[in-house]
């Protein structure tokens, strides 16, 4: 009986919530705090989730940062990459990375970024070579993402960089040399200055 009256009291309270309460509820700063909630003595821990095991990581792709953290062991040269590129990439991006009507070019465009017709490509625009490896690994080739092996991705990346004149044809790209490649537009980015309109 006592329990039931508490329930009704709570129900009435909930029912009389005002628009201001609702607005407050939608304010993220007002929610998420554990204050006032009934929790275990170990506040902030709900005891949910299980410890990650080695098998949990194999379901996920390599996450590669600009220092090369996350890159798997492997190697490839532009010469090796040429064949893979012609088989897996050229249909959309052109035999020499020049792009096709509908798909973006991957080469050229250096010194066009200030012009009225900028051509931002992997060679002229992308600031990190690790990004090239990471993106091919996760999303390319478009119809069959995730099918190239690490060595093949090193080779294709080397081919793209060589086509852009960034590394020589025989340069071996591997998990140590890839993060050291300096991309031409590395210094081309600035932080967000907005609001920028006065």
């Amino acid at each position: 009986m006592y329990k039931r009256s508490i329930f009704y009291a709570l129900a009435v309270l909930a029912f009389t919530a005002t628009a201001a309460d609702l607005a407050k509820h939608n304010d993220p700063k007002q929610t998420g705090s554990l204050k006032g909630r009934v929790t275990s003595p170990e506040a902030g821990r709900y005891g949910l989730g299980r410890p990650a095991a080695a098998a949990d990581f194999t379901k996920h792709e390599y996450l590669v940062d600009p220092n090369g953290t996350g890159l798997p062991k492997g190697h490839g040269t532009a010469q090796e990459g040429r064949t893979i590129y012609s088989q897996s990439c050229a249909a959309c991006h052109g035999l020499h990375g020049e792009g096709t009507n509908e798909y973006p070019p991957l080469v050229d465009g250096r010194a066009t970024l200030k012009s009225d017709k900028p051509l931002p490509t992997v060679g002229s625009y992308w600031p990190y070579a690790t990004t090239v490896w990471d993106y091919i690994n996760r999303a390319m080739p478009y119809p069959n993402p995730g099918t190239l092996k690490p060595d093949e991705i090193y080779a294709v990346t080397a081919y793209l960089l060589a086509m852009n004149g960034i590394v020589p044809e025989n340069f071996e790209l591997n998990e140590r040399t890839l993060p050291q490649v300096k991309m031409p537009n590395r210094g081309g980015f600035i932080p967000d200055p907005r609001p920028d309109v006065k």
Binding site: P28, L113, P127, R138, G188
Partner: protein, 403 residues
Amino acid sequence: MLQHRKPRPFNRREFSALGAAGLSALALRRAAALELGDPRRPYGERSPFEHAVRSFGPSVTPGTGSSRTPLQDLCGTITPSSLHFERHHSGVPKIDPNAHELLLDGLVERPLVFTMKELSRFPSVSHVHFIECAGNSGREHEGRPGETVQRSHGLFSNTEWTGVLLKTVLEEAGIKRKARWIVAEGADASRMSRSIPLEKALDDVLVAYGQNGEALRPEQGYPLRLVVPGWEGNINIKWLGRIMVTDEPFMTREEAAVYTDLMPDGKARWFTFVMEAKSVITRPSGEQLLDAPGFYEISGLAWSGRGRITRVEVSTDDGKTWTDAQLNSPVFPKAVTRFSLAWKWDGGEAALQSRCTDETGYVQPTREQLISVRGLHPGPDGFNHYNGIKTWFVHRDGKVSHV
């Protein structure tokens, strides 16, 4: 909220004008019999007379790309889940929630894996937020204005999202002192991934499983997605499968190239996350028709990635004079506010504009103001983060077109 209007009763003069003959006719009158209606059904559908749909053109990547919300056909503030805009890079994956897990690792005390069931056991919150593609209305920036508001502004929707605050999940694993960023990864075929500053992750980001009172739609990330309030759409990672806590951003393609903004000096802005204050009139708008001179309600949407909308002004004379519009409640931060203004169309030409202000005092700029600072240099993905004022032109014959 639906507003029910009471039927207007006869006034005394109308009633007596019916006369005795009229009354006896009423007594004999019998309305046509109505057929029995349709039976119950387990999952509702809209009336067959309603035809508002998302729109999309051909795509170079068949089956995927973007579709646009029919903003001109919507009322209120919430986008029906079926009409929420889409953007996916390698198609919509079909994910079994019973097999789906979230891995949380990196700079945490306890790397953890959560099942969907466990995520739903955390304290839940429901917040209304818009999601806007960074490229929404980029064609306005370019100078190819959209003929309809769906084409110009339709990569934009507003939803009540339900889930657990990312802060709660991160604290469950314990954040290490060196941590500054998180990297979120989707479980779609493109394994879309983005870096988010830890400060934002601990502020208002949601790990969401609910959309307008039911589970997320597949196109919106079923069974799990990030909602990053006020920030560009792409960073709201869908089909969320992994969060890695890190000390640096990972410079994925989307943040290091695609969603950057190329400036006239050849430099590009990056990590331009916030979608700035923006508004657009949805009624009357492009390709609609005003039947005859008289009363119309000018109505539209306003939003800001920096907080609440505090003011919307409307002009009917191409920005020469402005009148404050009414802000219809509720007005939530980083969510859509609907505005309205009573207007009597005199049958002449009119150029309709709206301009909003948010709680930081920021006023929505004109296209000219934006171009004077940002120029007209398309980046790898054209133009992003455009929020200029949009004009609709009412012709003497009542047709509405873009300018």
